[in-house]
């Protein structure tokens, strides 16, 4: 049994897939000798050479756009955007270009491209580094959006992403990169897209989250247990495709739902979850669906991030209000 944190799990997935498939290559800023700013690509350039582990110029649009072209040439690029917030400087190449290329070419070309990007607050990084903009890409159909929350899923979902014939945006919770080790097997295994995980089972309320917010919900569930409230925690794992079936089943079981995410509240993916529950299981709900997100302000200075981000206390408040109604 091998214990790995998320950084090690991602590194393990990349190394094994590059070993197994000579078409797989890694490109991005500082992914070579440095091993990436979080060291997720550590040791890869030494093992696979600088043709397959490429330090690129500092230019997000061309990292993503060149990956599209590399894929058409028959390579399988895994590009790293140093922080998800910086996809703004390559947004048109990610959502509009990668997402539409299969359709625009009438199916002649597809883009087997994975874009990896760390994101989220809680590590006191300045400004744009922390932005949780995953929902922006839900509005650019054609890409899949993957949000692992733990080391096991990080490896299995990344291998699934690299092998997927369609483009995948794989968002990494930087706050949890080294938060702890758990069992991550050697060798290739995959975690399928569109299968949410019930990470804690309860009776009174269902907490729905993805990425680092899952860990937050687990801490909230511990506190709730002390108050005699048992909570289900559902990890969506992927936003596209969305596991509507498990989502609805787990909310129906408790009749109550609180959605938690790090992105600003308005038009965050929580709104999509809430709307889906209204459409599908409204008559099985015992209380209005509640949402806890970041506030609708730009990500503030690091000194303020604890006020800005959803906290255990804010989750508990939302749960209590839900239970009272």
């Amino acid at each position: 049994m091998t214990q790995r944190n998320i950084v090690e799990a991602i590194n393990s997935a990349l190394a094994e897939e590059m070993e197994a498939d000579p078409r797989v290559m890694v490109l991005g800023l500082d992914v070579g000798k440095l091993g990436g700013v979080f060291r997720t690509t550590s040791g890869l350039v030494e093992r696979f050479g600088s043709d397959r582990v490429v330090d690129t110029p500092l230019a997000e649009a061309s990292i993503i756009g060149a990956s599209l072209g590399l894929a058409i040439a028959g390579m399988v690029p895994v590009a790293e955007i140093q922080f998800l917030g910086f996809t703004a400087q390559g947004f048109h190449q990610l959502g509009p270009q990668l997402g539409k290329y299969r359709q625009r070419s009438r199916g002649r070309y597809h883009c087997q491209v994975t874009i990896r990007a760390p994101f989220g607050g809680g590590i006191k990084s300045p400004e744009f580094h922390s932005d949780a903009v995953e929902a922006q890409f839900v509005q650019t159909p054609g890409i899949k959006i993957v949000m692992p929350s733990n080391p096991y899923d990080a490896k299995g979902l990344l291998l699934e992403a690299i092998r997927d014939p369609d483009p995948v945006l794989y968002c990494e919770p930087d706050r949890l990169y080294r938060a702890g080790r758990s069992e991550v097997p050697d060798g290739g295994y995959t975690v399928p897209f569109g299968k949410a995980a019930v990470v804690r089972e309860g009776e009174h309320v269902t907490l729905v989250a993805w990425s680092a917010a899952v860990e937050l919900c687990m801490r909230a569930a511990e506190k709730l247990a002390a108050e005699g409230v048992s909570a289900t925690v559902l990890d969506l794992r992927t936003l596209v495709p969305l596991d509507v079936e498990t989502l609805c089943a787990q909310v129906v079981k408790t009749g109550r739902c609180v959605i938690v995410h790090e992105a600003p509240l308005s038009a965050g993916f929580g709104a999509e979850i809430a709307a889906t529950l209204m459409e599908e299981v409204f008559y099985d709900l015992d209380a209005p669906v509640a949402r806890v997100g970041a506030f609708d302000v730009p990500f503030p200075a690091a000194s303020l991030e604890d006020y800005y981000l959803p906290s255990v206390d804010r989750v508990l408040t939302a749960v209590r209000r839900t239970l009272e109604s």
Binding site: L68, G69, S105, H110, D166
Partner: protein, 343 residues
């Protein structure tokens, strides 16, 4: 090299022999006749919005003739339709795209052409990645990527050329400076004296060429292709030409273009100068022109007819070619659309 009056500059020698030049003339005329035909059809409501290449035929055809359809790749913007046809894309397929067809507009397997690109310059990073990847895959292919003077202001232009220089991608960036980006003149587009000069900033070879001289365009593009294939790195070619038509069928140049400028451009017509040159050699006359014009019109009309009669899209095609395995949500949305459609 080939001057506007149809004579060759003293001492100049092109790689284009007479027979090859006749072939170039054929393609240039085909391009102009196609433009004229589909503009007429668009005015009658039978064709979509269209951007003609009129006036730029020497750039379009001279560059296309310098690459090898069997192994090289072409990455168009959208004003070089006949270059993609020369590169193997059937005219009826690209025509079907303008008519809104889906299946019949699919670029056939084995044709090394990427789709036209409406998001200006977004194709350039793709082209750099494609060229880089083909080299990593051990192929001796070269990519030719098209862009305009307007497109060169985009960030993607800068990023793509910069990356191509760094990885020494086997690529030729072919910039058609037709002096206009819709109504924005080249003078407003950039303060640079020459777009070709920008190559130096990326460590690329930069060449400026008379884009209305098919011989010169063919020669400089051939050199750039050979350099790229030999591992010498990428080039930027600026073909200085003039948009003798309009941006597209919605445009009205009379609102912004000085008519004198257009009249001057007409004197530099890229097709007429080839015809004059060949006439002086006894290889061209009015009868040959009439016969070839009829032949090309028939060819173009056959392609138009094939595209018109090709299958029209069905409601379910809304969902075609988005994912290899559509997520359950899409499967459900498709079922809802089709239910509603039948009801």
């Amino acid at each position: 090299m080939l001057l506007p009056d149809g004579t060759v500059a003293p001492g100049a020698k092109s790689g284009m022999e007479e027979e090859f030049l006749l072939e170039a003339l054929r393609w240039m005329m085909k391009s102009r006749l196609y433009d004229q035909r589909v503009i007429a059809l668009q005015r009658q409501g039978e064709f979509g919005v269209y951007s003609p290449g009129m006036g730029q035929e020497a750039s379009i055809i001279g560059s296309a003739m310098a690459v090898d359809p069997a192994r090289d790749w072409m990455v168009p913007q959208y004003r070089e339709l006949m270059a993609t046809v020369h590169h193997g894309l059937p005219l009826e397929v690209i025509t079907a795209q303008y008519l809104g067809k889906i299946g019949p507009a699919r670029i056939p397997d084995g044709v090394h052409v990427l789709p036209t690109q409406v998001s200006i310059a977004a194709q350039l990073p793709h082209a750099t990645g494609l060229a880089w990847g083909l080299r990593l895959r051990g192929q001796d292919s070269v990519v030719i990527a098209y862009i305009g003077d307007g497109g060169s202001s985009e960030g993607d232009f800068h990023e793509a050329l910069n990356l191509a220089g760094v990885v020494k991608a086997p690529i030729v960036f072919f910039l058609q400076n037709n002096q206009w980006a819709i109504s924005t003149s080249r003078r407003v587009q950039s303060a640079t004296r020459s777009f070709a000069l920008r190559a130096a900033g990326y460590g690329l070879e930069g060449v400026e060429v008379d884009g209305n001289d098919v011989m010169a365009v063919y020669d400089v593009t051939s050199e750039a292709v050979a350099r790229a294939r030999g591992g010498g790195g990428p080039s930027l070619i600026e073909a200085v030409t003039y948009r003798m038509g309009f941006h597209n069928t919605t445009d009205n140049p009379s609102r912004y273009q000085d008519p004198k400028e257009y009249e001057e451009a007409r004197l530099r017509d890229p097709i007429e100068r080839v015809q004059k040159y060949l006439a002086a050699l006894g290889l061209w006359d009015a009868n040959r022109e009439a016969a070839l014009t009829d032949e090309l019109r028939d060819e173009n009309d056959r392609a138009l007819q094939l595209a018109r009669s090709a299958a029209t899209p069905r409601a379910e095609d809304v969902f075609a070619n988005v994912y290899q395995d559509p997520p359950p949500r899409l499967v459900r949305q498709k079922a809802e659309l089709l239910d509603g459609h039948e009801a």
